[in-house]
Amino acid sequence: MREAEIRRLLAANLLCALSVVLAAVVPAFFLDGFSVLGTHLTWLCVCSVCVATLNIILHLVLKPNQSPKRRSFAHKISRFLKCCIYFFMSCILFHAIIVLYGAPLIELVTETFLFAVLLSTFTTLQCLCLLGPNIQAWIRVFSKNGAMSIWESSLQITSMCSVLGAWFGAFPIPLDWDRPWQVWPISCSLGATFGYMAGLIIAPLWIHWNRKQLTYKSR
């Protein structure tokens, strides 16, 4: 059971990583002059949408958190709306944090916001899929030893890696190399993406190696 679940997780994560890669490569065939650095805004949109869709589909297919009760349709709708609001709020929150970190307030607002959307896709969206709009559960998962399943562990790892990637991505900005990828927010969004992909790959491996120590209390 355990091994099978880990394998399922690995497959899902590899699919996600593949979607990120495809989002960078495939649009070049349809859109003229598309490149990650050149038309960065387009890529940000494409990547966010791809990852978001894939995540939702995977969530619907795999159902990692089997909810015991059948819920009414109205409940589902309200839940969905709540998720949308949460997602939007997390975008705003990320935007605010990025501005507090020193991003320009007025210039390049689109770039900053799309970067915030990308970060939300990598972190909040997954939380929403897995945990639903339940802040209490989020705080639990993101505190020490709070994960209750390998899916939650994976969520922890990927979210952390994405945010850390964005954090490290800011490092090269002050260097005077005058490279195209040093322009705001390219290095950060690339950092977040690489961090996310690294997280996707690390998570199953880490869980696999630590499966003896990992004791999930529930279930």
Partner: protein, 988 residues
């Protein structure tokens, strides 16, 4: 022997300061290349001898002067585009006309950093590139002993008159037959400095009894410092300068005789940056105009497109030729050929030969392998073809071929000159490696000692056992001393170059070596002890990494990351970004910590007690996992967990949750107050908006509100007397700013005279001293009578508030919000984060250090020399007095770190009831935080000493680091003094 931790840390830091001083002395050597002037008057070389027997050139003497009278007009901080750009066209019509249509040659002279007045004057007059240390001694310039143009002119019997900046009078004492020096230190004086120069002009221009007239105008530089290059004051000043140039030029033309023309040289010593200061290497600071105006030149037919670039050092050689003087011995400059372009080919060749000869002699004196230098080889070839040319010339060959051949030789010479001077400029920086190594060894040993004592130091006792030399180590000690002495003798007898450490007296040198050996033994015994301990306790429950909280990880990563970033020049230029980034992350991590404390533990605590609530699995899960976590955590964590339930009460909880966000917003606002660094320094910021003249009312309002806020934030812990003193002092600050014209009173309309505000500033000083004195009195009382700790904390707080008042006086008015936010953040952090979350002293110290660093940059400082606000050194002073000026400037520059350090002391000594060792721990951590970057940076700089940016980026940073070490050592001593009192009480 047992030492208290504070004493140990202060001792370490003092030793480190000694090491830094030694290193700095070695890194910034006093120029060693000064050939005594008497020797410099060697005979000038003759023209190269033509090959073949019987032919001798008759030109053996220095060529006669080309110009009769020379006037040098040096306009301080005259930027290239002030003359050649749109500003020049608008405000300097006469000069523009002369440049475009008159008999003139115009160039852009590149100044080498540091672009500060005194080194630039030296460069202009000696033709050499002065070392970086000249910046440091800029404030009291001693007489220039090198061979220089002024000395040569005086020895040749020329009569020199000087008016202007008195740096010249100090540099060239007794050289001028007539002079009037004005002090350059009152940067708020725009008109008087220049009127003092101009008032002599009419009289002098009528007279005939001088050969060289030097005028140094300072007004433009002062305008730049106070208001920046785009201020409305620059235009009228340029127009004034234009009129002066017109007057001089017309007067020179009218007096010209047939025999020899006159020459007018217009130059700037350095430019100014976009903020109006100078010292760095931005384009605006480096590019200065250089105009030669004389009727000897050909009239320019077409307006020039872009002036050619020359070096600032080229002026000395050119003027020496123009005045018929030998070229200064240490000059690395090239003759600017167009200036002598009107002469015959033979004369021109003679001039460049003289120049080349002087440069190659300089090369010979400085490099053993000079014969392999390409410049030297070129020069020898050119000299040979010059000889051939002279042979042809003397044979009477006076044709077109001769001219063409001459041009070829000239070109060879020019190439050789260029190569020679570039290879000479390269080796100007000569490091005194031996002193540097000694300094580095001391610094690194102190760092090692501090690092090795970390586990011991952070224990409860806060005492440090100094290993009193076991016999083995004492033997080692003597061995090391002997070895070092041997090395010393070998190095000092074999070194050709001057070495500071060798020139010290024997006793001092031996003392330093004994210190090094003692430190070494200390380190070895510390290592031995650690091994012993680990053998005794093989399963030492050292804090494993899993117990580290996010804060610890961040603190460690941030410290290491910052230190590593010092290796890249861009990261040094943009160091403020590093600190802003780190404190932002720190705030976010604090926010997460608060969330965890507020939400998670609150929910599990009721469960512990009642076990009634049966919620979903998840919450129980949390409590269980927490229960596992808590015993494993360290003591402080346990305290945190148990305390959190009592601290969260209603609205307080939400305020405490909002605190990190408020701090983040404050930091974001401060960040856009002053843009610093290099890459984004030109971005518009609030500071510039506020200081521009049309926003004076906004600035006044902001300053008033800030002063009010400062009062409210500071007064709550003061005694009544100091409250009143504080209020009066802050009023005095405002009236001082109003008096010097930065802000206005609401009832003040229209023009009013601007004074120097000396009375007002001294009024504030009285209150600063009063408050500090009251505080000291309280401290002494608590020390002697051993009263309760509240007297002591009031005393400390009063000292702190006195310093805040001093900072308010010295800060420019647009920087007052920095002070407000500093106090606000300190208050909020103390109330809602540090006390409730119960961080230990080490963590709090490091947070204070980080915030202090960030505030250093929030103030508008950077790692360049240009941002040092020297005007702070003249607040309330009538004239330049060295000691107070240095003290005030240093305080104003380091106010951020300093205030945070003193606040740390206030906080920790109020924490003593909880943790008796808090002050000692704080002092130790503070010393450690300072010594890590210094030690690593010293090593990095030694490795990068031939880096391209060593003088423009790394050296200024080294100076900043060095000064910071001295300040931190002082702070640590203060810490120890405060700590003493407490430990006595404990022993009682």
């Amino acid at each position: 022997m047992r030492l208290r931790l504070g004493v140990f840390a202060s001792f370490c830091l003092l030793v480190q300061a000694l090491g830094v001083a030694l290193f700095l002395r070695g890194f910034f050597p006093v120029p060693v290349r000064s050939v005594p002037r008497r020797e410099a008057r060697a005979d000038p070389p003759a023209e190269p001898a033509p090959p073949g027997p019987g032919m001798v050139s008759n030109w053996t003497k220095i060529p006669p002067p080309l110009f009769k009278k020379v006037v040098i007009v040096l306009i301080d901080a005259l930027r290239g585009d002030f003359v050649f750009g749109s500003k020049g066209k608008q405000f300097m019509p006469y000069t523009t006309q002369v440049v475009e249509k008159g008999t003139s040659y115009s160039f852009i002279a590149e100044a080498k950093p540091p672009t500060v007045t005194m080194p630039r004057i030296k460069a202009l007059m000696t033709g050499s590139i002065p070392g970086f240390i000249d910046v440091v001694v800029n404030l009291n310039s001693p007489a220039l002993l090198d061979d220089n143009l002024i000395w040569q002119a005086k020895t040749a019997g020329k009569r020199i008159i000087f008016y202007g900046d008195d740096t010249w009078v100090k540099l060239f004492p007794k050289h001028f037959v007539e002079y009037d020096g004005t002090t350059s230190f009152f940067v708020s004086d725009f008109t008087e400095v220049d009127d003092n120069v101009t008032r002599h002009l009419d009289r002098v221009l009528k007279r005939e009894d001088w050969d060289l007239l030097i005028l140094h105008y300072l007004g433009l530089d002062h305008i730049g410092h106070m208001t920046g290059p785009n201020s409305p004051l620059v235009g009228p000043k340029l127009r004034e300068m234009d009129n002066i140039l017109k007057k001089i030029h017309i007067s020179l033309l009218s007096k010209e005789e047939a025999s020899l023309p006159n020459l007018l040289v217009v130059c700037g010593d350095h430019g100014m940056s976009e903020t109006g200061s100078h010292g760095g290497s931005s384009e605006g600071e480096v590019h200065t105009p250089l105009l030669f105006i004389s009727s000897a030149f050909e009239k320019r037919s077409a307006p020039l497109a872009q002036p050619e670039h020359v070096q600032q050092t080229d002026l000395a050689s050119t003027l020496a030729i123009g005045l018929g003087l030998p070229i200064s011995r240490n000059s690395v400059g090239n003759l600017i050929l167009p200036v002598v372009g009107g002469k015959t080919m033979r004369e021109q060749l003679r001039f460049v030969h003289l120049n080349g000869f002087q440069l190659s002699r300089l090369l010979q004196e400085n490099t053993p392998a000079y014969e392999k230098d390409p410049g030297y080889e070129h020069f020898k070839i050119a000299e040979k073809s010059h000889g051939n040319w002279i042979k042809l010339y003397l044979e009477g060959n006076n044709s077109e071929i001769l001219l063409n051949l001459g041009k070829k030789v000239l070109k060879q010479y020019l190439d050789a000159l260029k190569t020679l001077s570039s290879s000479l400029s390269k080796q100007v920086a000569q490091y005194d490696m031996y002193s540097m190594m000694m300094g580095t060894v001391i610094i690194m040993e102190v760092l090692l000692l501090l690092l090795l004592s970390v586990p011991k130091a952070l224990s409860k006792r806060a005492e440090f056992e100094v290993p009193l030399s076991p016999p083995l180590f004492s033997l080692l000690f003597y061995l090391m001393c002997l070895m070092l002495c041997a090395v010393h003798v070998i190095v000092c007898t074999s070194a050709e170059s001057l070495c500071y450490f060798c020139s010290m007296s024997w006793l001092t040198a031996v003392g330093v070596m004994m210190l090094i050996s003692a430190l070494m033994c200390g380190i070895l015994s510390a290592i031995a002890k650690i091994f012993e301990n680990s053998r005794l306790l093989p399963k030492n429950p050292i804090v494993s990494s899993s117990n580290w909280s996010e804060i610890d990880v961040l603190i460690l990563a941030g410290t290491i990351g910052h230190v590593l970033s010092l290796g890249a020049s861009s990261f040094i230029e943009e160091e403020h970004q590093t600190w802003y980034f780190l404190i932002n992350t720190l705030c976010l991590v604090l926010c997460q910590e608060l969330c965890r404390n507020n939400f998670l533990l609150k929910e599990c605590d009721p469960q512990h007690s009642t076990n009634v609530r049966q919620n979903s699995d998840s919450i129980r899960e949390t409590s269980e996992s927490k229960n596992i976590d808590i015993p494993a955590a360290s003591n402080s964590k346990l305290g945190k967990a148990t305390s959190s339930s009592e601290f969260i009460k209603g609205s307080d909880k939400w305020i405490s949750l909002a605190t990190p966000w408020i701090i983040l917003i404050c930091c974001r606002l401060l960040r856009s107050l002053n843009q610093t660094g290099v890459q984004w320094a030109h971005r518009p910021d609030f500071g510039h908006w506020l200081t521009s003249s049309e926003h004076k009312s906004e600035l006044s309002f902001l300053a008033a509100v800030s002063l009010l806020m400062i009062f409210f934030l500071v007064q709550r812990r003061c005694s009544l007397v100091s409250k009143i003193a504080m209020a009066l002092g802050l009023l005095g600050v405002y009236s001082y700013r109003a008096a010097i014209g930065n802000v206005t009173f609401p009832w003040q309309h229209g023009g009013k005279d601007i004074s120097k505000g000396i009375t007002e500033a001294r009024f504030v000083y009285v209150f600063v001293l009063g408050i500090v004195f009251t505080g000291t009195k309280d401290l002494l009382k608590s020390q002697v009578i051993s009263a309760d700790s509240s007297t002591k904390s009031t005393g400390l707080w009063e000292v702190y508030s006195g310093l805040v008042l001093l900072a308010a006086l010295l800060f420019r008015p647009h920087n007052l919000p920095v002070l407000v936010f500093c106090l606000l953040i300190q208050t909020m952090m103390t109330k809602y984060i540090w006390i409730p979350l119960k961080f230990d002293a080490a963590q709090i110290t490091i947070m204070h250090y980080w915030f202090g660093q960030a505030f250093f940059y929030f103030q508008g400082n950077s790692n360049g020399i240009a941002t040092v606000d020297i005007s702070a050194g003249f607040v309330g002073l009538d004239s330049y007095v060295e000691l107070p000026a240095i003290f005030l400037t240093a305080f104003a520059t380091y106010a951020g770190p300093f205030l945070w350090a003193i606040h740390l002391l206030c906080y920790l000594s109020s924490e003593v009831s909880r943790n008796s060792a808090a002050v000692g721990h704080g002092c130790f951590c503070y010393a450690l935080m300072r010594s890590i970057p210094v030690a690593i940076y010293v090593v990095l700089v030694t490795g990068l000493r031939y880096h391209l940016f060593i003088w423009s980026v790394f050296s200024p940073k080294l100076l900043y680091e060095g000064v910071h070490v001295f300040i931190t050592a002082a702070v640590c001593l203060f810490f120890t003094a405060m700590d003493q009192n407490h430990s006595y009480k404990v022993q009682d």
